[in-house]
């Protein structure tokens, strides 16, 4: 079972078209909802006249912001969204009204009959404009002007670290934003069910957080709301926030007493966004001649878009995990997220870390060249060690980075290729580290992060109830496999119900690569408990000590005398007779991370970290700058591959997405000449114009798993669905340099940029394309935390006394 290639439990449904995604649901009397979205990037709503829309034949209901005034947001500190804008629109595509009608076409037609009177406000297009224009404030709660949030830390005396360095490298990088583009467009169906309560079927990765937000906004006890996360047709982080349309259809269904569906168009999905934050980063790194890092200083200017979303967390992630790949003895991080009039950024695969990883890995390539050290060798010298406690007090566990590097060097033929291939052809190397589940929940609580419930009965069926969501990553299968392994049965004998807040225990959701580890451990616990009950009953029956019983091949038998056995079904019957109805639970709460006691120290903690190394070989057409990726090798330390087919799929899928980001994917906006228009529109809100890799562009990939079970992972497993994405972009940049000798310090690396850098090179200037300036700004006083090797105890030496925040809205818990 564990460790073997096997058909996943949801496979049949998906290859036969039987799997029901949100938009596949159709119910009697169902009405359709369409949203009217703002054509302006920033405006005050003076008034909305819905009368003509309402009079349109076939229209049932029209809603505006006034109908749903309560704010929500994924993080307790940024409750800044409303289902429909109440008095202000903040980006093109911000929804202002909803029409619910008998047919979708009718609803769409009626949108045009709604008259909104807007007062146009000045538009802020990027962080530099936000810095220059503290007014108008996009949100009143921002830290200052249009700076949403600043974080600043200093671990050790960084200036001293620079003084000890033989060389100091300073580089600026820009990572353009990009988006998830799941194949499935968001869809939801809300129903007032037969008990008069609300059921919402929706394509979400986080039904639990949505559940809480619905309760708040609709002012209904959560116990009267059921959220069913339908199988997601792709998420990648893009379905992790509560979304406007989910509240709107819920409200409409409650009001109309009929099911209401919404199915977003692709363009609307681009407006939901929550994708990768554009980051402008300045790295200063001091190194010794042998490559050892003495200190690093990272400044990060982050474009957040119009709402908070996960942005506060992203701002931390934009620097926090820099210390977990290479040993950095002294580290200063300053990050600032800005509000701008564009769809909000949020968590995309790798959440906040691919951007600084890009900068660091490219800079290391530059360092290696200057110091005349092979980049693989340099990385081996500075790689973090197992069980290291980093400068910022992140506790690492198993670390397979060294093996990853050694193996990727071996299988890619690195030594015969690096700086040795003909002009136009090159190889590049990069590494990364990622976490396996965030150590902290999004809202503070002492309850488990994952729960599993098992029901076993005399039919022989094991039913697994989970709060997790199947977004394609295979979470239903992995949970079934773990239970099957413990109980010695086949996954086919298990039925999985997941993603339903009525049926399954709470699980925080499918994000931060947490499900396999957290829900997996919970599943193992629940299965072990069931096993213990069965063992006790069977031991009595067979008159053997229960310690000697084995569970395998759908039977329970005496290890010493295997002919003494009962079938698995008989074992359940015995247990049921002995204990009554059999149901067990398991739960998982991450271990405490006592090391980081400073404020913000919880971000980046995780039960386990994974490591990846990638080599890319590229072919660059020097005349046009067009790049073709010829081949890619990846080694990934995932603890243990529970199902190698699925693990390979996660790794290859991550690499695919990384290649898209490296070469073409970008979420970019267009301004028009200001004397003619104030528009700020998405440049390419379609699948044709938002470029992603096709089957013809995908190179051959060689992947190798570096296995070394991690005690904290279920059966030793760590994540593999995000980490392998991170090294791809920098590896491509480093390969382009090897091929044609130009540095592209910006993502995506398009042929235009390469041609420009080649022209610079030809003209004898710095052979580079990338940002040429970095804004001046005040970053605030950093929190000073001495690292472990400077005698630090995990506390900041200058932390202001923590005060209970009066401003933070106290959470209301509604009781049924």
């Amino acid at each position: 079972m564990i460790g073997h290639a096997r058909r996943r439990v949801d496979a049949r449904g998906k290859v036969t078209g039987q799997t029901i995604y949100a938009d596949d649901i159709s119910l009697p009397r169902m009405a359709y909802c369409k949203l009217l979205r703002s054509p302006h990037p920033h405006a005050r709503i003076r008034s909305i006249d819905t009368s003509r829309a309402l009079a349109h034949p076939g229209v049932y209901l029209v809603l505006t912001g006034k109908d749903l005034p309560i704010k929500y947001g994924i993080l307790p500190v940024s409750q800044d969204e409303t289902p429909l804008c109440v008095d202000r629109v903040r980006h093109v595509g911000d929804p202002v009204a909803a029409v619910i009608a008998r047919e979708e076409l009718t609803a769409a037609d009626a949108l045009e009959l709604i008259e909104v009177d807007y007062e146009i406000l000045p538009t802020i297009a990027d962080p530099e404009e936000a810095l220059a224009n503290p007014e108008p404030r996009i949100h009143d709660y921002s830290e200052e002007g249009n700076i949403h949030k600043r974080v600043a830390f200093e671990f050790g005396d960084v200036d001293k670290g620079f003084a000890e360095a033989d060389e100091i490298f300073e580089d600026t990088f820009f990572f353009q934003g990009n988006t998830h583009l799941p194949m499935e467009q968001h869809a939801s169906v809300a129903v007032r069910d037969r008990e008069g309560k609300l059921t919402l079927y929706t394509s979400t990765q986080t039904p639990h957080y949505l559940h809480r937000a619905l309760s708040k906004v609709l002012e209904m006890p959560a116990g009267h709301i059921r959220v069913v996360a339908t199988p997601c047709g792709g998420g990648f982080g893009g379905k992790s926030d509560p979304f406007n349309h989910e509240f709107v259809v819920s409200k409409a269904a409650l009001m109309l007493g009929r099911p209401v569906k919404i199915s977003l168009t692709r363009e609307e999905v681009f407006y939901c966004h929550r994708g990768r934050h554009p980051m402008l980063m300045k790295f200063r790194t001091g190194v010794k001649k042998d490559g050892t890092i003495t200190a690093m200083h990272l400044q990060n200017v982050i474009d957040g878009g119009a709402y908070g979303s996960y942005g506060v967390a992203s701002t931390f992630y934009g620097g926090t995990l820099q210390t977990t790949t290479y040993h950095i003895p002294k580290y200063r991080y300053q990050g600032a997220r800005f509000f701008t009039n564009k769809p909000p950024c949020g968590p995309k695969r790798g959440h906040g870390t691919p951007q600084p990883r890009f900068g660091q890995e490219v800079q290391i390539d530059k360092i290696a060249e200057k110091l005349k050290i092979d980049p693989a060798e340099l990385r081996l010298r500075i790689a973090v060690k197992p069980n290291e406690l980093t400068a910022n007090f992140l506790q690492l566990g198993t670390v397979g980075l060294e093996q990853c590097i050694r193996r990727v060097v071996a299988i890619s033929g690195w030594k015969d290729k690096f700086r040795k291939l003909p002009e136009g052809r090159g190889v590049g190397l990069a590494c990364s580290c990622y976490l396996t589940g965030a150590g902290l929940s999004i809202y503070w609580n002492a309850m488990p992060h994952s729960g599993i419930q098992l029901k076993l009965d005399r039919s022989g069926c094991v039913t697994l109830f989970a709060g997790t969501t199947e977004i394609g990553q295979g979470s239903d299968d992995v949970l079934a496999a773990m239970v099957a392994e413990v109980l010695g049965i086949k996954t086919f004998d298990i039925r999985v119900y997941s993603g339903d807040t009525d049926l399954g225990p709470v699980d925080l959701g499918s994000y931060s690569s947490r499900v396999t580890l957290m829900a997996g451990n919970a599943a193992i616990q629940a299965a072990e408990r069931a096993k213990a009950m069965m063992a006790e009953a069977v031991a009595d029956k067979l008159e053997v000590p229960k310690e000697r019983l084995r569970f395998a091949d759908s039977a329970v038998f005496d290890a010493a005398a295997p002919e003494k056995r009962v079938t698995f079904v008989e074992a359940i019957c015995l247990a049921e007779a002995r204990f009554g109805t059999i149901g067990t639970v398991g739960s998982y709460t991450p271990p405490k991370f006592p090391a980081a006691k400073y404020k913000g120290g919880g971000v980046g903690t995780s039960p386990a970290y994974t490591f990846s190394a990638t080599v890319v070989e590229v072919d660059v057409d020097t005349a046009t700058g067009l790049v073709r990726v010829a081949k890619l090798w990846n080694t990934h330390d995932l603890g243990r591959a529970l199902n190698p087919v699925l693990a390979r799929g996660q790794v290859e899928g991550s690499i695919y997405m990384g290649l898209g980001e490296a070469l073409m994917e970008e979420q970019d906006y267009r301004r028009l000449p200001s004397r003619l228009s104030h528009a700020l529109v998405h440049k390419f809100p379609s699948m044709l114009d938002y470029k992603t890799i096709t089957s013809l562009d995908m190179p051959e990939i060689v992947t190798e798993f570096i296995e070394g079970p991690d005690a904290r992972g279920p059966f030793g497993a760590k994540e593999c669905g995000q980490g392998p994405l991170l090294p791809v972009m920098p590896a491509v940049a480093n390969a382009i340099y090897d091929a044609v000798g130009v540095r592209i310090d910006e993502v995506p690396m398009t042929p235009e940029k390469i041609v420009r850098a080649l022209a610079e090179k030809k003209a004898g200037r710095a052979p580079r394309y990338g940002p040429d300036h970095f804004p001046e700004m005040s970053w605030g006083e950093p929190l000073r935390v001495p690292p472990p090797w400077d005698g630090g105890d995990g506390r900041a030496i200058n932390e202001p006394p923590r005060q209970p925040k009066p401003s933070r809205e106290k959470e209301k818990v509604l009781t049924p």
Binding site: L626, R670, L672, V681, D689, T750
Partner: protein, 345 residues
Amino acid sequence: MMRLPLFDYRTPRTVAEAAQILDGEGPEAMVIAGGTDLLPNMKRRQQTPRTLVSLRRIEGLSGAHLDHSASQLGSCLTLAEIAEDPRFRNGCSALWQAASMVATPHIRNMATLGGNICLDTRCMFYDQSYEWRQAINFCKKKDGETCWVANSSPRCMAVSSTDTGPALMALGARVILHSARGEREVTLADLYNNDGREYLTRRPDEIVSDIRLGPLHGWRSTYWKLRRRGSFDFPVLSVAAAARFSHDGVVEEARIVVGSAASRPLVAEEAARSLLNRRLEPEVIEEATTLAARLAKPLDNTDFDMSWRKKVTSQFVTYALRELRGDDMRAERTRVMHSQADGVS
């Protein structure tokens, strides 16, 4: 889900009947063939014909007669039929390559040759949903006043994005236009007009029934297409070149057409003339390249940066002429076009 607006649907059985309907319905009626251009446009409310006159049930529009001296291609021939037919691969490779590189295999199964040459012009400010266009207060191509690409331009600058258009022009194609008033034949070059709005000289009541090619004997042709990915993408620059060579490699006749660089495919006449009575030596190619690239003035309204596209124009002319000369350009083709459609004939 994006949905179509309401329309009437007519399915004539003959070209004459179709022409009759178009005549009766006036300019609010539009011809639909494969629908792969028109239907997305209708869903985005760029085009909202009241009546669709389908050519799909008309027999006799889908055959192809290829001959060394004269060929006739029905306008409803699908691009897949062209791509799969070895006669095209061997007889007029520019057309074969162009058809093979349009969009995706599925679209090529549906898309017709007639629809491809009549394809609406494209622009990043126009190929957007109604709501998006509303956010920029529309544009000169439809419903608006300003051309956002060139603010002071008196005309719409949307880009001719047909793949087969330039290829067929390089092959000297002519088209037959049918209407209730009769039939006329024009060169394909004359069908196009350098105006993003009025990009065809075809009258709204005319149907393209056939495409005719002159003698192909002794001709070699090739097509180069710039796009970001190996499939899906429209050309954002293309070069079609064809030449007839004497047995010892001297150019006797030549045509070079630059596509997707203006509102119509551009005929590089001077460049083509410079090749006459010469062998395609490097300096000959260079001279023609300079002349052809001069024509292309790409604007910032397609994928990729415009100055870069201009640069690529010369590169592509060079590649195309080298390929005509007989150089093996397969490596370049895969590198720049991710394409498997190689070989020249």
